[in-house]
Amino acid sequence: MPAITVAPDPFTLVPYDASTIAQLTAEAAALVGFPDDVAVTLEVDEVLPHPLTGTFVAVGPEGLDIWMSGANFEDPKRPLKFQPELALSELVRALLRAADRLRPEFSGAPTDEDLTDRQRAAWDVWTEGRAHRLGVPATRPDRLLYHYRLHHGFNDVADEVFRRLWDADALTWPEIDEACAETDAADTRERPKKTALRKEQLRAPRPSA
């Protein structure tokens, strides 16, 4: 089992328990087969409420850093309530993507912060498809499909690529990138002229704060 650190401990704004989250992270690591010798540091941003979800993983010499919005663990029906099933599913997906990053086939992948929405959505489909096959609860293709279509387009080419990514057993970063190029070519939507606002903004403090 990898060394796991969860912050904050204790939580002050939401009734989450750091040791429960650490236990679920260990369970997720075992399910994914995450290497024991990579230390995991998980920071949960307890400020963000549902539906402001978001996850970033970064692998470095010190180990794996995961940043996750508290909303990813929150029961959508009961504000502030921790939902263990949802948390396990989110952690499995984060660890699957992190495990990908440890493989040489992903050495060319941009950091989570630098992935385009299209690239991230494609990678998320493959990740969730694998989590689904691992028997992880709270993985739903219909749910993810809408998120994916927002970034890849509402058309048959995008849907076909979705099925391929969902069902894939092994992929490399260039293959995910090629899938993105394929949907990009079929996407006739007007692209936003301004730079898309990215998920990392969830973390940013107001300039004056």
Partner: protein, 277 residues
């Protein structure tokens, strides 16, 4: 059969979970949230968590449709013809039919977006506004204030569908929007007719409308700045009988609601965190 049906007895199955507006207003995270620079709050596909936010809003629309149906139905029944003329009841009956279709459309749209009935909470505030004991107050609180808000929300969702290239969402929102304009116009027309010779009653109803508008501005949910996820759909409101002064007033109400929410969050923060240390 009893008149004025209490909100807590509305028929719902086990999928529905109720929430109170206060739960959101007094969420211990609010003050810290206001310190964040989340950029434009406008609902756009490129914004963080866009799919989840759109689904959550769609579910809010869905439960609003159920309550609009329940409210219009009650207005057909709760008053005799001295208080509510037959032609008004006929309009309310037509509205029931529209809202029934909206409920069905919303359920299907929710499925299309990967959501399901009861995925999010339900607040029964819309129905509560439909429990006023004067039909003119109901028409102002529900048809003008809340269905006016529905115009703004449907317009925002329609634009979201357009930008995302989601033809299903855009088309459905457009159709529902057309009906809501009619419902708001019914409110405007009946307010004028029923209070023609009773300015005091008209003022009371408009005051009730302002109160509902303020509560439902939910600390800046609707307005005309970048910080508001939903913008005022002035063109459609004009078609529904709103004049410019009323719409300017609404923007002011929204600003006030936002300032109030910030003050409440700051006061709550002074009391320290809600859990743990």
């Amino acid at each position: 059969m009893r008149k004025i049906f209490p909100p807590n007895e509305l028929a719902r199955d086990e999928r529905f979970v109720r929430t109170k507006i206060e739960d959101r207003v007094f969420d211990p995270r609010n003050a810290a949230m206001m310190e964040r620079d989340l950029g434009s709050a406008k609902l756009e596909p490129s914004r963080p968590a866009a799919a989840d936010r759109a689904r959550s809003l769609m579910h809010g629309i869905f439960v609003g449709e159920i309550q609009a149906l329940e409210g219009a139905g009650r207005t057909c029944f709760d008053f005799d013809e001295d208080d509510a003329p037959f032609a008004l009841k006929l309009d309310m009956a037509r509205q029931c039919w529209d809202e029934s279709r909206h409920v069905e459309i919303s359920v299907k749209l929710g499925e299309w977006m990967g959501s399901e009935i009861g995925e999010f909470t339900e607040s029964t505030f819309l129905y509560e506004a439909a429990c006023a004991d004067d039909p003119v107050l109901r028409l102002c609180g529900v048809n003008r204030a809340l269905e006016g808000l529905a115009i703004d929300v449907f317009n925002a969702m329609k634009e979201f569908g357009d930008v995302a290239g989601d033809p299903v969402l855009e088309f459905c929102e457009d159709w529902m929007l057309a009906d809501e304009v009619t419902h708001v116009k019914m409110g405007s027309d009946w307010l004028r007719r029923l209070t023609e010779k009773d300015p005091e009653r008209r003022n009371r109803a408009l005051e009730f409308q302002r109160t509902v508008d303020k509560i439902f501005s939910l600390g800046g949910f609707r307005g005309e700045s970048d910080e508001n996820p939903v913008h005022l759909a002035r063109k459609f409101r004009r078609m529904a009988g709103f004049d410019e002064a009323e719409m300017d007033d609404l923007v002011e109400i929204s600003k006030q609601a936002q300032a109030d929410a910030e003050a409440m969050a700051a006061a709550a923060a002074e009391g320290g965190g809600a859990y743990g240390a």
